[in-house]
């Protein structure tokens, strides 16, 4: 947009808080075209502004969008065979992803080295019930062991603990200090099952996004000389800058120490290593050896764009390897509502899909090492996905929640 600051100025104009130079800038813009002038008149008139606001009301706008879209799709048979996907809700980043999710109903893969079989012989079995993609949701475990299901349907104060208010809003959880803390430190845990993801704002303002099948444990208020959390599964963290170090314990095998950075940790049990990928700032990663001999402890410091993998080496001790040629975008694709399969093997892809669709994948034949490329939104139903696989010549059979793949 050419007039980037104009909407903001118009907003101030509505409020009557324009500064003198802003006023001039707006007058210049107004004088540039009759359309601009009419827009200012519209804003100045309560009746016309009310009408515009009514049209832009999220529900009304959505209804408008769908009314027109259906009319268009009804008119063209070539386009109308694929139904639209349901829209997911959540926080802003998730909303952005939802736009894509609503939009993209086609899955496309390109096999990099796989022979395409003759068409026909398609073995997608008829599946009575659609397996839907995952959505926002989690379980909150309070310090007393009680559990609260967090989903987008509920909003408001979830609990009050030790001077901190826990609030569910826009599908995410936030901790707001509400009064003086009393007593000792209390810990909360958020767990996402398979097929759910969730984001939470910790008491210090740090934000954590949990992928499916993940947990984060943290105190309801940070005190003392370090901010300590524990995670499993896959979590993306945007740590608020502070002089108090932020420590992440991963599966009790790796610890990450930061002051204020953005990074992703993938530590699923069924992945071969714990991968930490740094987007911003700097982090120090240390392996935690099983036999707590300090000499076995390895430490590395990452620069943005680097990834550290901690895995058990040949001697039984954890080893850290650092690579600089990772695609950061690919690593955090999940957080942005996408699967990015660039260069991944079928086995790797399926492990992600198992968590998101809450399915189990079994293989027939040696196809796990097959390389795939392509992207897909996380809003696609499993059936849409299977059609994409089928085009590659990977045949699928879905029985209940077990997906059988064969060449």
């Amino acid at each position: 947009m050419e007039d980037k600051d104009i909407p903001g100025l118009l907003y101030k104009y509505l409020q009557g808080t324009l500064q003198e130079d802003e006023q001039r800038r707006l007058e210049d813009w107004k004088a540039r075209s009759p359309d601009n002038a009419s827009l200012m008149e519209e804003i100045a008139s309560p009746e016309s502004l009310s009408e515009s606001l009514s049209e832009y009301h999220p529900d009304n706008k959505k209804a408008l969008r769908e009314r027109i879209l259906h009319k268009i799709l009804d008119s063209d048979h070539q386009f109308s065979h694929a139904p639209e996907r349901p829209v997911m809700t959540g926080r802003r980043w998730w909303m952005a992803a939802a736009v894509l999710a609503a939009v993209v109903s086609s899955v496309y893969f390109i096999a990099s080295y796989y022979q395409r079989p003759e068409p026909g012989n398609v073995a997608v079995s008829a599946t009575p019930a659609e397996v839907l993609p995952g959505k926002t949701g989690a379980i909150l475990t309070l310090s007393d062991g009680s559990q609260v299901v967090l989903d987008s349907l509920r909003e408001g104060v979830v609990s009050n603990q030790n001077g901190t208010q826990v609030v569910l809003e826009d599908g995410g959880l936030a901790y707001n200090p509400a009064g003086p803390a009393s007593g000792g430190i209390t810990y909360n845990t958020i767990t996402t099952p398979k097929g759910r993801q969730f984001d939470v704002r910790l008491p210090d303002g740090t934000r954590a996004w949990l992928n499916a099948a993940s947990t984060i444990t943290y105190p309801t208020a940070f005190h003392g000389n370090e901010r300590m959390v524990k995670i499993t599964g896959e979590v993306y963290l945007e740590v608020v800058k502070s002089n108090v170090p932020f420590m992440v314990n991963v599966n009790n095998k790796t610890s990450i120490r930061v002051l204020g950075t953005h990074f992703n940790v993938n530590a699923y049990d069924n992945e071969e290593s714990i991968s930490t990928t740094l987007l911003e700032g700097s982090v120090r990663i240390a392996s935690i050896p099983a036999g707590s001999r300090p000499s076995d402890r390895e430490t590395v410091i990452l620069r943005p764009g680097q990834q550290a993998k901690v895995q058990v080496g040949s001697g039984g001790h954890p080893e850290i390897t650092v690579s600089s040629d990772v695609s950061v975008e690919k690593v955090v694709a999940w957080k942005n509502g996408l699967f990015d399969f660039e260069g991944a093997t079928l086995g790797e892809v399926m492990r992600q899909l198992e968590r998101w669709y809450d399915i189990e994948v079994v293989y027939e034949g040696d196809i796990q090492q097959l390389k795939l490329t392509g992207k897909m939104t996380r809003g696609v139903t499993l059936n849409g996905l299977l059609k994409g696989l089928d085009r590659l010549g990977i045949h699928c059979q879905l029985e209940g929640r077990t997906l059988k793949l064969f060449p």
Partner: protein
């Protein structure tokens, strides 16, 4: 419009040309409201404006073979939307003086300029972003009054509030936005003769 999408523009256009409905919907989502606003500017009623939008996109789909670049798509949408508006105005000019008048006007303009429409859409988005920050009850009143054009009595009934208070709120809904910004919040009760306690009760319920 910005195109901060993970999908490359080129890829999007290619998929659209290949008949991918997802790609079409992505393009639709970028432009439908702009075109709707444009049509609303020139046509007396909503239904006509909606028809312009659907017709414009139907034509875009039919001609997708020629749409090799994002720039082509944008240019095509603008010209087609203008022509669709002209058609409707021409068709109705005998019946309605308003249509005839608008037709004269529109004929004098050349290619549609979307930049002010982008400004308008962004402005409206900003207003709703501020509404999101309002205290819950106030936000509810605001959204209800704009969603269905509800009258104060109806809002009161739905939200279980006192009619008189809602009436004050509703008639000043625009000004509520100012208040949401923090500015003159304390002055609010001075401007509007509502009991101080009532206001706080409503805003923070």
């Amino acid at each position: 419009m910005s195109a901060n999408h993970p999908y490359e523009e080129y890829d999007l256009v290619q998929r659209f040309q290949a008949g991918d409905i997802g790609a079409f919907t992505e393009i639709y989502d970028r432009y439908y409201f702009l075109i709707y606003q444009y049509a609303k500017r020139w046509l007396p009623n909503r239904q006509e404006a909606e028809d312009v939008v659907s017709e414009t996109f139907i034509k875009l789909m039919q001609r997708r073979g020629q749409m090799e670049s994002p720039a082509k798509i944008t240019a095509f949408l603008k010209v087609t939307a203008r022509n669709a508006c002209l058609d409707i105005l021409k068709h109705n000019k005998v019946k309605s003086a308003r249509h005839a008048d608008l037709l004269q006007h529109l004929l004098l303009t050349s290619a549609p300029d979307f930049s002010w429409l982008e400004v308008r859409e962004e402005f409206l988005r900003l207003v709703y972003a501020e509404v999101e920050k309002m205290p819950r009850k106030m936000k509810e009143i605001f959204l209800l009054s704009y969603k269905e054009g509800l009258k104060p009595a109806e809002i009161a009934q739905r939200l279980n509030l006192n009619v008189q208070t809602v009436s004050n709120q509703k008639s000043n809904a625009i000004k509520l936005i100012k208040i949401a910004l923090g500015q003159s919040f304390i002055l609010f009760p001075l401007f509007f003769p509502v009991a101080f306690n009532d206001i706080f009760e409503i805003l923070y319920k």
